[in-house]
């Protein structure tokens, strides 16, 4: 599956977020994105599904691409910085496509088991 990102998304997020980020990914490939997600080890902090723990939850609804890419490229905090040298722009776009492809989480109110816990 390929997901084409809307070019206007970056504009909508404002110049500050987009300034340090690469151009919006023109196209991402979900299968290649999954492979890159595993290869560079995104899953180690974010889980195989991007669900987070111990990192932030990044799927199924990741940040808009410019903000997403900017964070990956310049993260000052606990998350390592992934430069284009270790994570090329196309791989990043593919990863983004993979994260966007993830289905929505189930409604906790509809999961009987979750009504039993915490009591």
């Amino acid at each position: 599956m390929k997901i084409v990102l809307p070019a206007l998304l970056a504009v909508a997020l404002g110049a500050s977020a987009a300034a340090a980020a690469p151009a919006p990914a023109p196209q991402g490939d979900v299968a290649r994105g999954k492979a890159a997600f595993l290869r560079v080890g995104c899953y180690t902090c974010h889980g195989y599904e991007g669900q987070g723990v111990p990192g932030k939850k990044i799927a199924p609804n990741p940040l808009a691409y410019p903000a997403f890419a900017n964070f990956v490229r310049t993260s000052p905090g606990e998350m390592p910085t992934f430069t284009p040298k270790v994570l090329p722009d196309q791989d990043l776009a593919d990863i983004y496509a993979y994260l966007r492809s993830k289905p929505a989480s189930p409604n906790p109110a509809m999961i009987p088991l979750l009504q039993e816990v915490g009591r």
Binding site: G41, G47, G52, G77, F82, P106, V117, G118, R119
Partner: protein, 652 residues
């Protein structure tokens, strides 16, 4: 060898002497003794007052020489290790965890023959590190120490990491190691290789006390002293060296032997004025926060902490070194957000106060910042100030505080509760009650957030998520008298299960030495077995692979325990470190799996369990298969057996 003519006389003197002098404090049943002619009744202590009949029988044996006389293959008199066992029994120690060792053969024999392998019972371990961890986990449930018996030099070296965990976790494991100190009598070759001038030297930095007794009386006094020191907060491991000659040779001066009475001091309590000052701070605070790490060693500790928290409606962050505070209480909190809002922080038995109130970012600048507001008052109550060693850095970075009370927190809490109640004015009572209402609202929100987080954390994904596994377990154990003896997986058990008893969680290793979880869980489950509790162990796969022989121990000794293998097929924290190095250095990102992952081949933990006599189930990869597998496992445990369920899981 010169024929001894003194043996009979010594035995007579021993018994007669004891009869006259009486024992200071000996244990055992008066019915037991070895009768002339080799007919024995039940086991007798080596040094105790005999009955009149038995004493008469012994001292009137006149003419038949002891078979030991002149025979170098027979022990002359009762062996010293029998007396050592009497001393051990006087301390009400139930278990000795050991891997068999020639340097301990004398005591080993005494335990299984003279002592009939009961109180203490030998627990067969596959590694001294595991033996130490079992004694460590056992203490945290039973509340009393066990012995880890280690071979000379190499056995103690094996035990070292387990000792460090116990040291960091304040667990009073009583270590014993054999040693042949006399070069003139010790066996050449390997036994000499395993002998050492100062056995404790290799671990002294992580012991509270040690001794190398030179006589049996010295042993008696030192073991009783060691027990007393270990059980006085801060609880820490101690070591007694067992000289092989003392163990194996006959008792030469039995009439002089005494077992001192054991008495453990009351724990140190906080000074009255300092406690009163802490109470004033707590009552006057707008946002008091209590942070607890290794506080509750009994239900009384939990009860006192609840009373303190409710008296001022303070948020309680349980760092989980022990089960300190009920997690379904509205004042229970997780994370550091409450710390950031606090104006008074009371740290109870914190290992790392600095890390509690400061942030550290693992980047190339090692950035640090404070989590707390300017002017926040910090108070420390803990026994860590009473005793500390220099070398190992488990005391963490220095944190300045406003009031420090060097005392045992659990022992101090009742007086602090009383002081707080006296300080509360009607005006402050209104503020406190309002704070309680806010806590109730936040509590309800936290419950909703937990359910949303669980659903969003790959609920239906394969491999299985941590939240899913923990949620699936709860309906199966909630009606049991359950206890978590292993890892608190991602904090999910504390978010989903209802912990309200101190024994339901025993915290972690302390020293973060991998290889602790499995044997510690076995030791803890052994302590729970006596109470008929249902032990649940969430077991990291990499930890299991350090010393899987603990699985066999659980089978051999029939220790019921539900182990769920948290099989993420990696030493996952190290995966993350290697990934971090690669990004810092902008290097190849497809190599961090080398020497960090457990794949090619994957480990079949079900087969591993089967091979050791434990029922193995799995691997389970789909969450849909989880509930039936867990149900099977629960049924096996209810029959009194251990089981391992291999679940392939998300990384964290």
């Amino acid at each position: 060898m010169k024929k001894s003519s003194t043996n009979k006389v010594d035995r007579r003197k021993f018994l007669a002497g004891v009869a006259v002098a009486g024992a200071a404090a000996v244990t055992g049943e008066a019915k037991a003794a070895i009768l002339p002619g080799g007919k024995d009744t039940a086991r007798a202590p080596a040094a105790r007052r005999p009955s009149t009949v038995l004493a008469q029988a012994e001292v009137s044996t006149p003419s038949v020489p002891s078979p030991a006389d002149g025979n170098p293959n027979l022990t002359k008199g009762r062996p010293g290790s029998d007396f050592m066992l009497d001393v051990i029994k006087s301390l009400d120690i139930d278990y000795v965890f050991t891997n068999p060792a020639s340097s301990c053969r004398g005591l080993h024999d005494s335990i299984i023959t003279y002592g009939d392998n009961k109180k203490p019972e030998l627990m067969t371990c596959m590694h001294e590190e595991s033996a130490t961890a079992m004694a460590h986990g056992y203490f945290k449930v039973a509340g009393k120490p066990a012995i880890a018996l280690c071979h000379g030099t190499v056995g103690l070296q094996h035990a070292t990491m387990g000792i460090y965990n116990a040291w960091c976790d304040r667990a009073p494991v009583i270590l014993m190691t054999g040693n042949s100190g006399d070069s003139a009598t010790r066996r050449p070759g390997v036994p000499t290789t395993h002998s050492v001038q100062d056995p404790a030297a290799m671990v002294r930095d992580i012991l509270k006390w040690d001794d190398q007794p030179a006589s049996l009386q010295h042993f008696a006094e030192s073991l009783v002293r060691a027990y007393r020191i270990a059980m006085t907060p801060p609880h820490e491991p101690v070591l007694i060296v067992l000289d092989t000659d003392l163990q194996e040779q006959g008792i030469k001066n039995p009439a002089a032997l005494r077992i001192p009475k054991s008495s453990v001091p009351a724990p140190p309590m906080g000074e009255t004025n300092a406690v009163r000052e802490v109470a004033r701070l707590l009552v006057a605070a707008d946002n008091p926060v209590i942070v607890a790490d290794r506080v509750a060693r009994s239900q009384a500790g939990v009860k006192s902490l609840v009373e303190l928290a409710e008296a001022v409606n303070a948020t309680v962050i349980d760092q989980g070194g022990r089960m300190n505070f009920p997690n379904m209480h509205p004042l229970y909190a997780r994370g550091s957000a409450a710390v950031s809002r606090a104006d008074v922080i009371l740290g109870l038995e914190l290992t790392d106060f600095f890390g509690t109130v400061n942030e550290f970012i693992d980047n190339t600048e090692a950035e640090q910042s404070s989590r707390i507001k300017a002017g926040t008052k910090l108070v420390s109550i803990g026994s860590g100030d009473v005793f500390i060693h220099s070398n190992y850095q488990d005391f963490q970075r220095y944190q300045a505080v406003d009031i420090a009370i060097a005392a045992d927190a659990q022992a101090t809490l009742p007086s602090l509760v009383e002081a707080v109640r006296k300080e509360i004015t009607p005006a402050r009572k209104a503020v406190i009650e309002k704070r309680g209402q806010a806590a109730q609202a936040a509590y309800a929100q936290a419950k909703d957030r937990m359910r949303a987080d669980a659903a969003a954390a790959a609920w239906d994904a394969s491999p299985v998520s941590s939240a899913r596994l923990v949620a699936e377990l709860w309906p199966l154990i909630r009606t049991e008298d359950w206890a978590l003896v292993g890892r608190a997986l991602g904090g999910w058990p504390q978010r989903m299960w209802n912990f309200d008893k101190h024994y339901q969680h025993i915290g972690g290793s302390g020293g973060a030495g991998v290889g602790y979880n499995l044997p510690s869980a076995v030791g803890a489950a052994l302590a729970h077995k006596e109470h008929g509790r249902f032990a649940v162990n969430i077991q990291p796969d990499g930890d299991c692979m350090y010393a899987p022989g603990a699985i066999w121990t659980s089978a051999h000794h029939k220790i019921p325990m539900l182990t769920v293998m948290n099989n993420n097929r990696a030493y996952h924290q190290e995966v993350m470190h290697l990934q971090r190095m690669a990004t810092w250095r902008q290097r190849n990102m497809d190599r961090w799996h080398i020497a960090t992952t457990i794949r090619e081949p994957y480990v079949s933990f079900a087969k591993l369990a089967d091979a050791m006599g434990v029922a193995g189930i799995g691997p389970i990869e789909s969450p849909a298969d989880l509930a039936p597998a867990l149900k099977r496992g629960v049924d096996i445990v209810k029959k009194g057996e251990p089981v391992i369920i291999d679940v392939v899981m998300q990384p964290r």
